[in-house]
Amino acid sequence: MAAGAKIIRYRGVIKRYGGFQALGGVDLDVHAGEVVCLIGPSGSGKSTLLRCTNGLEAIDGGDIEFEGAMLPRDERALRAVRTRMGMVFQSFELFPHLTALENVAEGPRTVLRNDLVEANRRATAMLAKVGLADKASSYPSALSGGQQQRVAIARALAMEPDVMLFDEPTSALDPETIGEVLSVMKKLADEGMTMVVVTHEMTFARRVGDWVAVFDTGRIVEQGPPTQIFDAPTTERTRDFLSHLGWTG
């Protein structure tokens, strides 16, 4: 996909849980090679939008396009889409019964049907990329939170996705390990990976983000480049949210 082409397009996306409207008509474009950060208070719909992007949640209205095609509803077609979108969870969700290397090799092996040698070669390269080549044979329980999250990033990258989705990747981490995860993400961004990042790390959103969308009660109240959002927010709601975080611009 050429740099700058629209890779994900959200139009009027609506999601309801019973009577609760989690997303009330969201419009957003993600271009190839871009880092889009979704910020806003808890429960404002950021994570829900991310989970709708790869069909973990089905939308109730509007549409989502991925690489020029509507996101399929059919499970089989959806699985094919998921292999092209990596996802990283707040709680890592590494497979605890597998070593770091086996975790990373699992997707190539089971889904892409690589043979063991090829899957392990790929997994070793991905672990090296996140700086954990020496932890290949460690089980997740023997790794720090930051290391586990880096393995989770490597696991997603091993599928060679076109887009990476990050759902609050540093929210469950000890402060001292947040930095190592953010640097891996920064490195990925510098390599041109398209990324959608739900985050409370405003410094990351400002420094690494190309585009920032501010969520509140299921809607995007403002979106724009980080300089606009952080230095010259145009809506009261954005100013309010940032000032609650102690953001002084």
Partner: protein, 219 residues
């Protein structure tokens, strides 16, 4: 009162053969009941509604019948209905497998339910289908988690195989009772039988405890 323990030694060959049959029954029952238990559990959790109902009915039926009744039933009823009968050993094995499969299905169901949703999602976002997610992610973790329960089922089963003596399967209990009946050495034979069951059962329980510690997943 005089005891004659030589009766035990005299019948050592029969006792060894009976013990071998007991072990064979236990191993064969588990070899059937573990995979079948997983299948029944998965049908009960994810099956098409009528299949789910059938699996539930099966589990509730066999879990709530006395095993000895199932053994008798399997021995007497099929020949009456069909004119065909299996050997006592095969009949006993079938009855035990039906019963233990029902127990294992419940154990596996609890184990699978205990794996958090995020693990399945992590498998799904890699592009796995439901079967792959179960096979590669959920079941391996569930099995490790329920090993202690399977272990106690195993030890119970080892002892419960004695129930198939009622249909003349020549396992340890049946053989001991036969020798007792022929020799009138009641106390000696019952003691010998108890000693054999205990000496074999206790190390198994310890072994399974060890396996559980060895393969436990720390999170």
């Amino acid at each position: 009162m005089s005891f004659d323990w030589s009766v035990v030694w005299q019948h050592r060959d029969a006792l060894i053969a009976g013990t071998a049959t007991t072990i064979l029954l236990t191993v064969a029952t588990m070899a059937i009941a573990v995979p079948c238990g997983i299948i029944v559990a998965i049908l009960r959790l994810y099956g098409w509604a009528p299949v789910r109902a059938l699996a539930t009915a099966y589990v509730e039926f066999f879990r709530n019948l006395p095993l000895i009744l199932v053994v008798f039933w399997a021995f007497y009823v099929p020949p009456i209905l069909t004119g065909l009968g299996l050997s006592p050993l095969a009949t006993g094995l079938a009855a035990l497998a039906l019963n233990v499969t029902a127990y294992n299905a419940e154990t596996f169901r609890a184990g699978i339910n205990s794996i958090r949703r995020g693990q399945v999602e992590a498998a799904m976002v890699l592009g796995m289908n439901r079967v792959q997610a179960l096979r590669r992610v959920v079941v391996p973790q569930a099995v490790r988690r329920i090993l202690p329960v399977l272990a106690s089922t195993w030890v119970s089963l080892f002892k419960d195989t004695s129930l198939v003596s009622v249909i003349a399967v020549t396992e340890l209990a049946y053989v001991s009772m036969q020798i007792r009946a022929q020799s009138f050495r009641v106390l000696e034979m019952l003691t010998a039988m108890a000693a054999i069951y205990w000496l074999l059962g206790y190390p198994q329980a310890k072994l399974v405890d060890w396996i559980q510690r060895r393969f436990a997943i720390t999170e």
